[in-house]
Amino acid sequence: MSLDIFLQNIVNGLSLGSLYALIAIGYTMVYGILRLINFAHGEIFMLGTYFLYYGVLIFHLPWWLSFIVAIVLTAITGMLTERIAYRPLRKAPKISILISAIGVSFFLQNAGIVIFSGVPKSFARPEIFDKMFILGNTRISSINLASTFISVIFLMALLYVVYETKTGLAMRSISTDMETARLMAVNVDRTISITFAIGSALAAVGGILWALKYPQIFPLMGMIPGLKAFIAAVLGGIGNIVGAMIGGFILGMAEILLVGFMPQLSGYRDAFAFIILILILLFKPDGLMGKNVQEKV
């Protein structure tokens, strides 16, 4: 592989990785607080793209406004799923809420097929994302640069919220000890809603950037990226936000480089992610950034 192609692959890897990172956040935050693997997260990702699609198509909103509206609507949808399908089960055995999550996932997929139809729709992308930057022999598409850049901005905003604000402190306290957080007068229900809103908003951003890269949307489009992002979250240490980001970037980069170095294996691209999952679960089930603070009792 020449240096040019290698550079090109690095940019592609960063771009894909940043999308996995954005989606993985939602899994890891919800898991951190509720110990729930939110199977419906891939569908939330899918809904974000449709919200934007219809915002532009039916309501003729400018693209950027539709982008914002889609993020907000997706955040609200995420909050509603928690309110309707998870909150009533918070005191039930863990398996119930997990099954409820699978139910929400199927429901949204099928509602999507009914409402949006199962036929893929082509996702219009603003011209600015069609540009190519040519540096010597390296060709870098602007969408790859833009998606990396936008993702990193959102990821930094997230880190700020989680580590520097009162809401973030509330989230971190709930994820370690919900009962004691209540004793500190933390509003647990509200904080959980905010967590779902943030995770879903990031999934919407990820979904829309995804649809700009691979400009076709369909109701089942959330499944594979959702699974991969979940693997990224496990890779980084589920429950750990920085871990999810790192896991996302590693997975995206590894996938692109695998295909780049060994094109004959490109058919195994998806299987590769699952091999990583199995290896992690076998050898480092806590993930790369797994819990390292020991509790003293």
């Binding site: 971190r172 000890d177 209540r182 004793l183 500190m184 007068a185 603070v293 003293k296």
Partner: protein, 234 residues
């Protein structure tokens, strides 16, 4: 300040509290002593709203608090130092203290109270940026008390604050309890260390398998033969 009437609690089939009555007058230190499993923690947890009662009433500042959840009770000044410290090990000492003051918006008041808890626990001030989980057991207990003080309690419920501490530290914790009380905070203290608790308490109740069997002023119970035999080692 706090009045508990005919309080019953069930855990499934276990009848943990069988109709207890007691009172905590304002500005006083009241203690609840009893053996393991007597129902002491259950009593405190029910007062905080972490456990549901099956019967009875809890009055705080003359109001029945049945309809208030844990958060609202904390905001109302009913603050607990839970059993086993329960500090947040992955958060820094400073963040733990900030969580104590979570409901408050009076920046100046918070600053003043921070200064006060640093005076009470100088060791915490030296370790503000350290993760709670890396503190020693005794320091963690101090953090748990300091964190509760940051909530501006009017009634402080303490569940075995001296558990697992070396004798010198036990003494220190009890001095601090008296200091907190002298600043105007009412205290309901649960202890297995009956001797120390009875010494600081204005009034005391002895709980045995979910029932109050003896009550009286702290110094009187120290002289009580039954209490001596069962809780003070003869």
């Amino acid at each position: 300040m706090l009045r508990v009437e005919d309080l019953h609690v069930h855990y499934g089939g276990i009848h943990a509290l069988k109709g207890i009555n007691f009172e905590v007058p304002a500005q006083k230190i009241v203690t609840l002593i009893g053996a393991n499993g007597a129902g002491k923690s259950t009593t405190l947890r029910t007062i905080c709203g972490l456990v549901d009662k099956s019967q009875g009433s809890i009055y705080y500042e003359d109001k029945d608090i049945n309809d208030f959840d844990t958060r609202q009770r904390t905001i109302g000044g009913l603050v607990m130092v839970p059993e086993g410290r329960r500090i947040f090990p992955n958060l820094t000492v400073y963040e733990n203290l900030k969580l104590g003051a979570f409901k408050r918006n009076d920046t100046d008041g918070i600053k003043k109270d921070l200064k006060w808890v640093y005076e009470l626990f100088p060791r915490l001030e030296e370790r503000l940026q350290q993760k709670g989980g890396t503190l020693s057991g005794g320091e963690q207990q101090m953090l748990a008390v300091a964190r509760a003080l940051m909530s501006k309690p009017r009634l402080l419920l303490m569940d075995e604050p001296s558990l697992g501490l070396a004798p010198l530290l036990v003494q220190e914790i009890f001095e601090i309890i008296e200091e907190i009380n002298s600043q105007g905070t009412t205290i309901l203290l649960i202890e297995q260390n009956a001797y120390a608790a009875l010494k600081v308490a204005d009034y005391a109740y002895v709980l045995e398998t979910g029932q109050i069997i003896i009550e009286g002023p702290g110094d009187e119970l120290l002289q009580n033969d039954e209490v001596k035999k069962a809780y003070l080692g003869g």
